[in-house]
Assembly symmetry: D2
Homo-oligomer: 332 residues x 4
């Protein structure tokens, strides 16, 4: 049994990570920490998670006697905590953006001054299906953003085949993606009976998607626009690709079938997937189509933003890092 | 006071049209008809509309003693009814697709054999802001589809300026767009906590958008994908345009400002609009942006699919046809 | 034209009041004030209200040159503002609880020390249908709470007939009732897929209902429990009355029919009403039933908590105070 | 491993039962049948359940070679199927009302002529926590209605203590309780932004609650009113009890603590429970309060109508009938 610290467990992502660790057959939930809610039981904040642990202040020295840690801190705040854990030899899955971008300049342009620049480039990018081998040997995994997770699973087969000349990604996300802090944006009355684009042309997941698409063979500058929808959990990525050469539906279908043939959590489906199909699972459902009128390739990917988009993918990565079966603790 | 027949008033669109006529200072609600609900009061079907009229079977001879008619029949069924009303000299706003497409072959490929081919081409296309003069003199207006309404308002300024090389339209629509008939698709449990694309690459509004964009100067084949969202009324069109030449944000902003400067119901806004901003109004809110990473032009348009997308635009058109102020009866 | 100040217009209730004044044929919107959002346009906070006025800090001396004021301050903060306006001769409809309770001790037990005790008892209780004459002559009206509005309209005919021996009131309310401040309780993720009782046995509207029921002839101590439901606007009151003597359905039906026979905004309906039937209206729909198994009388009343429950009732009262037709500005 | 037939698996309840059997460590999913959808895969109807079995027509002779069956047929249609299975020696958990009521006259007054009257009284009433011993030895279990499940768990401790003089039960239920058939009532547009009472004074679960309360020691005639809320799964029972003698909160708290002390799936909580706390679980959360104003006892119980209210309780009962641990297969 491996002991796992969850740092930053009062937010949606950390709390779900704590629950998944708590139910995991080969993991034990170690300390759960929170800067804002020390002393509070997780049961009080999230009754439905059924985790009785009490949140405490993070104390790196005392809390580093674990086998691994999931860090669910905000961007910028995560880096020094991750660095501290790594110095003490703890394996880390970091849910923040702090170690995803390989270029410090790009990171600091989109986020904040970096808190542990010496670790940049030292993390494996944790999109499990696309980077399995590096993750298995890694001591630090940068868990992807929820949007990059869906977008890259949707686009990887086309990127690897050199078929992406240009791409528009129109994302729809549930409100939990905005985090636990109550704001005007997350107020029920703002969200109900509404759909609204936000951070048009300026969402921080854009450079992450660009970086990883380039690594897969598609050095493009994507257009990415998220929309907030009245759903609590769920994410649908609608990807519109101008192909580098004409393709027909059977060719793209074959590419996707082959790419995800052995995957436990990615399923290529015929009809366009809905968010609901994968709610509260680590699964990604993908359909691919060619527009008969103009040859554009359309890929739709549905995930749960808190599960495969964040916390259950962290467990999937942790399983690999610890030599456990990749799907352990991830299927009801 | 002009007397107005509403044929097909048991559906969402017809019932709302009846309500708007009923409250209109210069219109009188004449017969309201329904094949399926003859004998039922509209008050029973739609208590919130507060219209007490009782639905009856349509009788063309008896019911043609009106000044105008709004026909809210399904595609295919509308054409003969419209033809019958026109023969009897009644001005008609037709909410179906039957007279929108100018090419009979295209119509019959996407819909059904046409029921009144002699009238094809004889209708004014009822997107008020783009076709005001023809509508004012018309005796038959083909009211646009809800998606073409939002898409064309979003794209017209770019189309007229010759700036559209290519375009992807990602639409989000409330459930009322699927009509009143209860189906697996409109069941609350199917829609809640879900977002799902449908009719991918095959929605019937595609040829309508193509036809009208061509008329505006942009002969493209659009990619158009609607998504069902858990909202009762509302529509958001997200349009991604590859410009024919590089443009900057100030140029496109000026194009839109100019195009809609005098419009009562179209407002160009700075922040991306939400469905909720225009709920239960005849308004369309539009924002336009240029992606700093790749120069793509992004236009977002929000309307209420049942109001500006259907029934209140029908009233706007009727006002023009009858020589009334265009906005009469359309503002609370 | 009467000039109307709206003090506290950045909240849901005040903003809606400002919109209703702005559209009213015989009222002019005077200053709109806000402590928290001075300098902001209402258009920015509430685009769908379409009111362009800019919020400013309240300045009693400068802002008292109006014919009337609607005060939408929190409980406790309202009293001194109301007192200041009254001193300057301004007619006031106060939306807070500060002048609803006639017994200062009761007020201070449930709320806070009273800020203008000299005015207690000087206000007319603003449940229009039940207190029309006093309101018409009043210079200060205490607008009822949203729950008392629905409960008292549901129970008044039984109370006046001496038929209430005991009553349980189970209320369901939309989230706008909790106000504009974003909190854990109003976060979309807390509300979606949830129904939850709150303030069980301790909601501040309880003494208000008790006081007014006693005035109507039913000196009971009610059990009142509100439940938060995933709806933005709307309120349903389910009232379960143990009758003082056996009654049958025809007798109670006659009582309600008679009580509300001439009412423009209260409608006695046969089938149980839904919130949606009265959304965004000043209306109250009521149905009354007798349980065949045990003789209990059940009354269901639906209102919109922000409209008849708050802001549109304020306009209805203002109309009476100013000698205008009671329904002016209240029907689309 | 016990082999389990699920008859009527295309509906919400049967499909969930099939999923729970499929994931159960000691059960094997045998045939899954459907009259309306034979030939369809469950995967197509319910992608999120992840059960690949194909529905077939029920063939009693062929399908009786199982250890047990869960029958999810409509009321009336269930009885003959259950009788056929019992004749062939198959243990049955019946989800319909057909064997819940002990008095044939009462059954036939509220439902239809009974299809297997010889079995009336031969079934154990399957509210597990209240009837554990009889269920463990039973060959036929009548699974309770979803409303009786919540109501009886909420009221049993008071009924057994002789404390119920009178009771009002105000229920709120998610739309899945209305079943899979699309109707005007389950249309998204009917449900969104709405709350509505239905079957006021005439819901069929009323005699079931009365019968079981009497068996527990409280021979009362309850007032029971369900309300439809915009939630897909979930049920909240608000119970208002006039106590037979004055009680204080500590006494009722002790009664509930004692009654449910050893229970795995029933939890007595301090704050009023929300539906969301128990979503997709076999759990029931209960809080109990005394109204300080009038001494009324208020009990709130939250369950998931499809889980503890129907299908997971069926598994809980099946576990007992087969000598398995009661909670097997019921916790993630």
């Amino acid at each position: 049994m491996a002991d796992v610290l969850v740092a930053g467990a009062s937010g949606f992502a950390g709390a779900l990570a704590a629950r998944l660790v708590d139910r995991h057959p080969s993991l034990t939930l170690g300390p759960v920490t929170s800067r804002s809610h020390a002393g509070t039981s997780l049961l009080e904040l999230y009754p439905h998670h059924r985790v009785g642990a009490v949140l405490e202040e993070l104390d790196l020295d005392r809390h580093s006697e674990v086998d691994a840690a999931i860090v669910a801190y905000p961007h910028g705040a995560a880096a020094p905590v991750v660095a501290g854990l790594r110095e003490r030899g703890v394996r880390v899955v970091d849910l923040s953006a702090d170690f995803r971008l390989l270029d410090r300049g790009v990171y600091e342009r989109w986020y904040v001054p970096h808190g542990a620049p010496e670790l940049i480039g030292g993390a494996a990018y944790g999109l499990t299906e696309l980077n399995r081998e590096r993750i298995a040997g890694a001591e630090l995994v940068a868990n992807p953003g929820c949007f990059p997770t869906g977008a890259l699973l949707a686009l990887a087969p086309l990127a690897r085949a050199g078929l992406i000349a240009d791409v528009v990604i129109d994302a729809k996300t549930g409100v939990s993606g905005a985090g636990r802090a109550p704001t005007d944006v997350t107020h029920f009355v703002s969200v109900a009976e509404n759909v609204k684009p936000y951070k048009v042309g300026s969402h921080r997941h854009t450079p992450e998607i660009d970086q990883e698409l380039a690594a897969l063979g598609a050095p493009v500058s994507v257009t990415f626009v998220p929309h907030l929808v009245p759903v609590d959990q769920g994410e649908l990525m609608s990807c519109y690709v101008t192909p580098a050469e004409p393709v027909d539906e059977s060719r793209v279908a074959a590419l996707f079938a082959e790419a995800y043939a052995g995957e436990r959590f990615v399923e290529v489906v015929d009809a366009p997937p809905g968010m609901r199909d994968v709610r509260e699972t680590n699964r990604c459902h993908i359909s691919v189509h060619v527009d008969p009128g103009n040859g554009r390739v359309m890929v739709f990917a549905a995930i749960d933003n808190l599960w495969k988009g964040t916390s259950s993918q962290a467990i999937q990565n942790l399983n690999l890092m610890l030599g456990l079966p990749e799907d352990e603790g991830l299927e009801a």
